[in-house]
């Protein structure tokens, strides 16, 4: 027993100046970040940014070249075995046993984690029902769709009730519908189990929908970190475009308006803090002024704008990864 191991730290993950080199190539260039307990933390970045490498270091599969990392208050190098008891992981690449049934996959995972008996069987049933695979429990995983395999992996990673759950690109290569499905599971996990979730992804919507905090990573460096709205502020505010039926004149009433300008095409451009809240107020002002609004559009910055702003590139690079996944699943046959 570690002394005072029952005193839970504020931070589920603490990383300090972490470096990982593969030969001459520096995949992780001295990154630092902290994840609070119970938080969903997303690592958002394009292919090859170093997301998987970070996950592998935090889950004790790779040794860092330099720097420090703690998970659940334990050092990932010196206390690797203790760390392993506290974590669950869904790998980027599929890692289910295709020649076994869903139930057997769960049973074996439980066994490897020292679980057995009625308790294990109850848990397996509860989790397979949770990911809606109970009706398929005796079917070989070989015949599962990509989405079903992913759901099985999520159920499996929860079996030993980890404190910190790592999800490495959990919806990579899934169709949009299944993706929403998986998102809902992750939300439920967070709400019901108060688990800390470390998620990597290169889908902005995914980070936006799920994460309390986002770190944007590129070429092995964290280039921005914060809540989603904080990050978006980096590229500026929301913009509302208004066209009126009379002479275009700036809207100045109301302190929610940061600035206003009449564009050459006759539209009025209004910079606001929050477009969703501003829209009704703008209608109100227009009514008071006695002008009629004939057209209204607005633009909110996306995380892609943030990435573009910081790196000059788009984050999306789905082709490569997607192709790799296809090739892999083909090779596994």
């Amino acid at each position: 027993m570690k002394k005072a191991s029952w005193v839970k730290a504020t931070y589920a993950i603490e990383v300090e100046n972490l470096v990982k080199r593969f030969g001459d190539f520096e995949a992780i260039k001295s990154i630092s970040f902290k994840v609070r307990r119970g938080e969903v933390f997303a690592f958002l970045g394009p292919n090859g940014a170093g997301k998987t490498t970070t996950v592998h270091i935090l889950t004790t599969l790779l040794k860092p070249t330099d720097g420090k990392a703690k998970v659940a208050g334990l050092d990932v190098v010196k206390e690797a075995k203790e760390v392993r008891k506290k974590i669950g992981i869904v790998f980027q690449e599929p890692s289910v046993d295709r020649d076994l049934t869903a139930y057997e996959n769960m049973l074996i995972h439980g066994g490897v984690y020292g679980l057995s008996g009625v308790k294990l069987r109850d848990k397996i049933e509860r989790l397979l029902r949770f990911v809606e695979l109970w009706d398929f429990k005796d079917r070989l995983v070989r015949h599962f769709s990509g989405g079903m395999q992913r759901r099985l992996e999520i159920a499996r990673s929860l079996l030993h009730e980890p404190e910190v759950l790592f999800l490495d690109e959990p919806t990579l290569g899934l169709d949009p519908q299944t993706r929403v499905h998986v998102w809902n599971y992750i939300k439920t996990i967070k709400e019901e189990h108060d688990m800390t979730v470390f998620l990597t992804t290169h889908y902005m919507e995914e980070a936006e929908k799920l994460a309390d905090k986002i770190a944007i990573i590129d070429h092995g460096k964290i280039i921005a970190e914060g809540r989603c709205d904080e990050l978006k502020k980096l590229v500026g505010s929301d913009v509302v475009y208004v066209r009126v039926d009379s002479n275009a004149e700036c809207f100045e009433e109301g302190d929610f308006i940061k600035s206003c300008k009449v564009l050459r095409d006759g539209r009025i451009r209004i910079d606001v803090e929050n477009a969703a809240e501003a829209l009704p107020k703008i209608f109100e002002i227009a009514r008071e002024k006695g002008v009629k609004i004939v057209e209204m559009t607005y633009h909110q910055p996306t995380l892609n704008d943030v990435f573009l702003h910081l790196t000059g590139r788009e984050i999306r690079d789905e082709g490569g990864e997607f192709f790799k996944t296809i090739v892999r699943s083909w090779m596994r046959r």
Partner: protein, 251 residues
């Protein structure tokens, strides 16, 4: 202990699922026995060359050992495949002792390989004159052989980085180990340098032991020598495999 048992369970369960693969692995040695064995036994009319039994009977223990060798060696080396495609990572992030999980896997694979050897042995009963009481102890020899070679395979797998390496190993090692074991022709008639290689080949002792127990042929070595060398090698390779796997990482 739970992790060991569950790994044995996993390997056996996987085997029981892969029916077509099982058939393929039984058919291959049978083709050897029937076409190679029956073909040559027509040529070797003088039974003195093979210690006083017909060639088919002489060959039977060899084919049995060969089957187990093939099966266990490939399953050991296929840990590479697991590293590439997932399951190994599952095991490496688990808090269970890695020594325990890998030895569970090796023992599971060895049981599977021995079962396949047993199937071959029962089929050879139909066309050869092997001694029925020798069968059970021969299966024991088969199990030791399987543990030795699946452990050896795991050791190689922790060193090899790629599938190309896997193919290389298979091409370079498999056939010589079979030819230099006395499975298909006697060691005594080999030139000295081949004999030397045969003596350091673990498969030799399994073939010799199985042949002493199943036929009237006098072994190249006393049975006790065969068994102790094979037992020693099985334990030694198992130990090395456990140690090597304990230290393996994803890099």
């Amino acid at each position: 202990m739970r992790a060991f048992i569950i790994m044995v369970y996993r390997q056996i369960k996987r085997f029981s699922r892969a029916k077509s693969r099982v058939v393929g692995m039984v058919v291959n040695p049978l083709i050897w026995l029937i076409f190679f064995g029956v073909g040559w036994s027509g040529v070797f009319k003088d039974v003195r060359v093979f210690g006083g039994v017909n060639y088919l009977t002489y060959l039977a223990p060899g084919i049995f050992a060969m089957t187990i060798f093939n099966q266990s060696f490939i399953s050991g080396v296929s840990v590479i495949w697991d590293r590439e495609f997932g399951f190994l990572k599952e095991v490496l992030v688990a808090p269970a002792s890695r020594k325990e999980t890998i030895s569970g896997r090796i023992v599971g694979d060895s049981i599977v390989a021995t079962v396949q050897g047993a199937i071959i042995l029962f089929l050879t009963l139909l066309i050869t004159e092997v001694r029925i009481p020798g069968i059970l102890p021969t299966l024991g020899v088969g199990l030791l052989l399987a543990v030795a070679f699946s452990s050896f395979g795991v050791c190689l797998a922790t060193r090899i980085q790629s599938m190309e390496g896997f193919q290389m190993i298979m091409a370079v090692l498999m056939l010589p180990i079979i030819f230099l074991s006395g499975a298909i022709y006697p060691i005594n008639a080999m030139p000295w340098w081949m004999k030397l290689l045969a003596y350091i080949n673990p498969l030799t002792y399994a073939v010799d032991g199985a042949r002493s127990m199943l036929t009237d042929v006098d072994g190249v070595f006393p049975l006790s020598t065969d068994l102790s060398i094979l037992g020693f090698l099985a334990l030694a390779f198992l130990g090395i495999a456990m140690f090597a796997f304990e230290r393996s990482t994803l890099e």
